[in-house]
Amino acid sequence: MNPEQILFFVFGLLALVGAISVISFRHPIYSALALIVTFFAQAGLFVLLGAHFVAAAQVIVYAGAIMVLFLFVIMLLNLGRRDREGAPTGAKLKGIGIVLGILFAAEGIYIAVNARNGTAVASAQPAPEAVTTYGIGELLFSKYLLPFEVTSLILLAALIGVIVLVKREKPTDN
């Protein structure tokens, strides 16, 4: 086993332990913290695949920004308390979770089995420059310029939407 393989198993195991912890903890804050472990482990797997930019984005955006948002909302809504009072567990949600879990597992097994003969997924040729941050930046401003610009419009729409929905009205002046 070369070091890369060892690292793969370490990160893979970490991701699995994190994911299982997310659904086993009773307290939402612990679940959220366990999710961070999973995100970091996934970032590690991305590094092993040579996708450094995606790994960095994973850490900064998911483990960073989104998790802060999660924790913020959990603390703001004081969700931790309900569990201690014995909140009912959603049987319906559990059913959906099991079905989705089986589906995802089937997909993963299918890909793993077919990966050996190379027919599982089409060989996407990632542009060699798409690996580095520099290359991704260049792609964003050339080939993917239109999607990149549209993203800014989506952010504008979100911004306007938030203002519409939460802005406090001044009392009417008449």
């Binding site: 997909e107 299918y110 890909i111 027919t119 599982a120 997924v121 089409a122 060989s123 996407a124 040729q125 260049e138 792609l139 050339s142 080939k143 993917y144 310029l145 239109l146 999607p147 549209v150 993203t151 419009l153 989506i154 504008l156 729409a157 979100a158 306007i160 939407g161 203002i163 519409v164 929905l165 009205e169 009417t172 002046d173 008449n174």
Partner: protein, 483 residues
């Protein structure tokens, strides 16, 4: 690695973008009446419409932005549908938003309303012209995000907020399906470009991943255009959202969803037609039947129109199922007709409002035919068109859709469609009968007619009758615009 961009092809989108910025700036001038913003939106959409028609006439087509953005007869025709819808909806919104003159707060909050309508329109245009799944998805998100907020625009009303919330949750769910479908399609083909996917799909037997992705895309689209069994959100959202926005959601976005659906399924996944054709036929049957049968049970007119719009998506699917040139162009024609008549019907519902509020239940319409004959007449025209009576546009739309299905050999589908048309005639005519044959329970009281609403309704009626009497006017255009 510079790419060449043909700005000329982007003219309609640029005009809408510029209008957006102007509305944004003018909204900040406090002394300006907010009505100006509405007119600005209409003028902007009008110019974009004019540009699109010119592009259609001169055949200014091409692919730009490194193959991401395809301007062809198809996308230009859909641009025309979107822009007509946007203009009509803005027209009926100007008076509707002003509401009671006492409510100054709502008066002040008009700016973002038009901004979001313009952003949604831009999203729809990107969906129709997107030649790359990423662009289609971003257009879809731009449109959907704007619509979520618009549905919850009257946040002082609990029903409106609830509609926005419900739409957001189910819409996000649908987007996740759609995105996962794209991911699997990428896994199965190695590309997200629509023409490139078509090449890969044509070259070999499809991998299971590709098929799974395809069905996920159908689910995602099904939610967005409210196809049975993914339609549950539609009645609640239409009912709770501001009526003008219900008209908007039922028109342009539905057409945009079908535009992207047609481009992806009849171009990228053309060779998988044996796989998805049967599913689409099944969905068409379900959508028509469930939509129409549930519409019968409704006494609330907004909910009735919601279920009727579900049923109309089923008629469009008949054209999609045919999947030949005639099928696509008849679906496009149907969408144009449907947008105009549906906005017209909603405009008439808004116009019928009393000083006490909107007239929502069926019994509210009793006696309207005598007290307000003109309004009742226009509403009747819209309902007859929705039911598909000649000489209205609705008849023309249904005729060509059914004809294309017969040519494709889907006789049973047409039979079910015809039965459904008969079912739908029942509940549309029930409103007409109530207006003309039933005595009102109390005094029929109608607020004075706001001018722009009347103009919007009259324009929609002219459109419906013109297409109904001279169908070649638009059918030739649709026929030359297929993919």
């Amino acid at each position: 690695m510079p790419i060449d961009i043909n700005w000329q092809l982007l003219m309609p989108e640029l005009v809408i973008g510029l209008t957006l910025l102007l509305v944004l700036v003018f909204d900040m001038i406090d002394s300006l009446s907010k009505t100006v913003l509405g007119w600005l939106t209409i003028v902007g959409a009008g110019i974009a419409l004019w540009v699109s028609v010119t592009m259609r006439l001169d055949s200014t087509y091409g692919i730009t932005f490194g193959g991401m953005f395809a301007v062809d007869g198809f996308s230009v025709f859909f641009n025309i549908i979107f822009l007509v819808s946007t203009m009509l909806v803005s027209l009926i919104s100007i008076n509707y938003l002003r509401g009671d003159s006492a409510d100054r707060r709502r008066e002040r909050r008009q700016g973002p309303y038009y901004l979001l309508i313009l952003l949604a329109t831009l999203g729809m245009m990107l969906m129709a012209a997107g030649n790359e799944l990423i662009v289609v998805f971003l257009g879809l998100e731009l449109m959907s995000l704007s619509l979520y907020v618009l549905a919850g625009y009257f946040r002082e009303h609990a029903v409106s907020s609830e509609a926005g919330m419900k739409y957001l949750l189910l819409g996000a769910f649908a987007s996740a399906f759609f995105l996962y479908g794209i991911a699997l399609l990428y896994g199965g083909t190695g590309t997200t470009s629509i023409p490139a996917i078509a090449t890969v799909v044509a070259s070999g037997s499809p991998s299971p991943l590709l098929l799974a992705g395809m069905f996920l895309l159908i689910v995602g689209f099904g939610f967005k255009v409210a196809i049975v069994p993914f339609h549950q959100w539609a009645p609640d959202v239409y009912d709770g959202a501001p009526t003008t926005i219900a008209a908007f959601i039922s028109a342009g976005p539905k057409a945009a969803g079908f535009a992207a659906f047609l481009r992806i399924f009849t171009e990228a996944l053309q060779h998988l037609q044996p796989e998805w054709g049967g599913v689409v036929i099944l969905l068409a049957m379900l959508t028509m039947t469930v939509g129409n049968v549930l519409a019968i049970a409704q006494t609330n007119i907004k909910r009735m129109l919601a279920y009727s719009s579900v049923a109309h998506a089923g008629y469009v699917l008949i054209g999609v199922a045919a999947a030949n040139r005639e099928g696509i162009s008849s679906a496009m024609l149907y969408l144009l007709v449907y947008c105009i008549m549906n906005i017209g019907a909603f405009a008439a519902v808004i116009l019928a409002k009393t000083s006490a509020g909107e007239r929502l239940t069926l019994s509210d319409y009793a006696g309207l035919g005598f007290r307000k004959p003109l309004l009742a007449l226009f509403l009747t025209v819209m309902l007859l068109s929705l039911a598909g009576f000649p000489p209205t546009a609705g008849f023309v739309g249904k005729f060509y859709v059914f004809k294309s299905a017969v040519q494709a050999g889907h006789i049973w589908l047409v039979a079910i469609g015809a039965v459904n048309t008969a079912i739908s005639a029942f509940y549309y005519l029930r409103v007409v009968v109530t207006m003309y044959m039933r005595e009102p329970a109390g005094e029929v009281d109608v607020s004075p007619y706001p001018r722009t609403l009347v103009v919007g309704l009259v324009l929609a009626a002219i459109g419906v009758l013109l297409i109904g009497i001279l169908p070649s006017l638009v059918f030739d255009a649709a026929q030359n615009s297929g993919l």
